[in-house]
């Protein structure tokens, strides 16, 4: 399949097609970084790919799941490439793709800084009882805006059981800020989309995370569902749901985020006090997210060395 990771502002003297035949492995990351510094070219003018190859391969996933991920990331690239640095600026090759000793568990990490950052990843966790595929895209904004963050996660726990999470994470206490609730949630299509999933996919049920903290962080219009397909062993219905229901809704929510959050720039020109509050709150949410999701499972799956390496990068970019 064709490469989806090309930047959309190629160097004027290099045509897209010739560039596309360059295998990435042959480009030294260090060389590119050095030339960036030497030429002082701003990121979007470079024909630097946004990320390594490993992420966009999304191995082991059902075809519609892979299409969904590639589609979301392409939409992000298309709208936001001016605001983002390539992942290689943050993630060294040995963290861009990693695996455990047997190779049965693998992961890929991509971080594009700029907005604050976009984090995309896939994780395959193998265990004696089976394998789990976790795909995740997070968009975090800086404290110069108070607009919500973006969160997407689709976890395939088994061929017929998925957990789907899609939300615009509020940056403020909604109870204290009903105007914020109105601007970003009541006046948007988010609730309609949440309802739409419920009526279109009868197999979707509300999912109650065991983490009370997580339950609280999710917005009132957040989609947090488990989907159980009675399939007789095939993945047909799961594929159908991902392709026909999850994909359009995820793309719409992503568009809403990019529209109202990145391009409009939030509700207030946040004063210093507000920025401090935002940063404090963001830091708390991010540190709990890592604690919850990764810090316990990663060492077990991948060994301490790999876990430290990957978590170190994530903590660095999360500024924790």
């Amino acid at each position: 399949m064709g490469r989806m990771i090309l930047p959309l502002c190629p160097h004027p003297h290099v045509s897209l097609s010739s560039y596309s035949t360059l295998p990435l492995k042959q480009i030294s990351i260090r060389k590119i970084r050095n030339s960036v510094r030497a030429l002082s070219i701003t990121p979007f003018e470079m024909e630097q790919p946004m990320r390594g190859r490993a992420l966009m391969e999304f191995p082991h996933l059902l075809a519609p799941h892979k299409d969904l991920m590639v589609g979301l990331i392409s939409a992000l690239d298309k709208r936001l490439h001016r605001h983002l640095l390539p992942s290689s600026a943050t993630v060294p090759p040995e963290a861009e793709y990693y695996q455990n000793q047997s190779g049965a568990s693998q992961g890929s990490l991509c971080i594009n800084r700029g907005i604050d950052f976009i984090l995309a990843s896939w994780l395959r966790l193998s265990s004696p009882t089976g394998a789990m595929n976790i795909t995740n895209i997070q968009g975090y904004l800086k404290s110069s805006t108070d607009a919500p963050h973006f969160q997407f996660e689709l976890v395939q726990c088994s061929p017929t059981y998925f957990i789907f999470f899609l939300d615009l994470i509020p940056r403020k206490d909604l109870v204290l800020n009903p105007d914020y609730l109105k601007t970003f949630y009541e006046d948007s299509q988010l609730e309609a989309l949440r309802k739409q999933l419920g009526t279109q996919v009868l197999e979707a049920k509300p999912y109650f995370s065991s983490s009370l903290y997580f339950r609280n962080v999710v917005s009132p219009t957040g989609i947090v569902v488990s989907i159980t397909c009675e399939d007789g062993g095939t993945a047909g219905r799961a594929e159908e749901i991902i392709r026909d229901n999850i994909e359009p809704i995820a793309n719409e929510v992503l568009e809403i985020w990019m529209d109202s959050c990145v391009c409009k720039g939030g509700t207030t020109t946040a004063g210093e006090n507000e920025r401090d509050q935002l940063e404090k709150r963001d830091r708390m949410i991010k540190s709990r997210a890592i604690e919850m999701d990764l810090s316990s499972s990663m060492p077990i799956q991948f060994g301490q060395e790999v876990a430290d390496r990957v978590l170190g990068i994530i903590r660095g970019v999360f500024r924790l």
Binding site: V175, L176, L212, N216
Partner: protein, 319 residues
Amino acid sequence: MAVSFSPILHLPHSLPSLLALKSSRTKISATGSLSSSSSSASQMDLHNQGRQKFIEFPFVSAPNRDLMVNLVSTVEDRLGSHLLPCTLPLDVQHCQNESGSAQASLHIRSGLQSSQVDFILGSWLHCKLPTGGALNITSLSTYLNPSTDAPNFMIELIQSSPTSLVLILDLPPRKDLALSPDYLQTFYENTQLDTHRQMLMKLPEVQPYVSSSLYLRSVLSPTVVLIQIGAEEGGPERMEEIIKNHLHPTAQEVLGIWLDHCACGERLVGEEEKAYMMKRDRLIKKKTIEIDLGTNFPRLFGPEVTDRVLGAIQKVYSI
């Protein structure tokens, strides 16, 4: 819509004689009505008469009534000495529309200055539906003041038919939980509140319920019991059984947790935090009145009664 209000009754002969004392202690009799040495007769009368109408919980099934009466009595027993009598005018404590097809009762008791309680609010609403059935809402909420940051308590049963009921049972937090994981742990994790939600969700008749108000969704805690119960198969008897054997004990337990850990607990609250909470508490009160009363009352009772009731509530709420 014209409104008829309950006539003010004559004083019953059994009232004790009144002594003008400086103390404002009130004693609570076995029936929960007040006898006080310092309140005026009409104040006591107001409280007792209004309470009588309120505690009747007419129109709902016995298990629903028992649940509410039990909760109200428990609160009165534990917190009575911290509460003032209900001083709402009688025509606010009980109101109905001209035809009597809609009736409501409100019972609000403010906390003493020295207590941690802002006020307790109990209410019921009855409304005949054009389809022939009736809608009944029974509720009890407690609000603490900024001398403590502990969560509030609320329960609401919304029964639209003998086999269909929505239950909201929660300890709504007073702080932004995203910034306060310790608070989350103290009041929500250590108390095992989520087990109650999990237990009720196991009943086959129970489904999660999603409120149409986004604001209400944000006010509620992560362990809220927010469920709809559909007992079409088992019929009204099954619904009553569920209320009696499942909802009632659960509500009692959650109220017990609130009384032990929140109402009677001791919390240190700094000045900045107090200011923040006053602001937040105020907003919640304002918005929940809007949501609760603002939708039903004007439609059922007309603008005049609505204004009267809202005005009285706003005074107690001091908003």
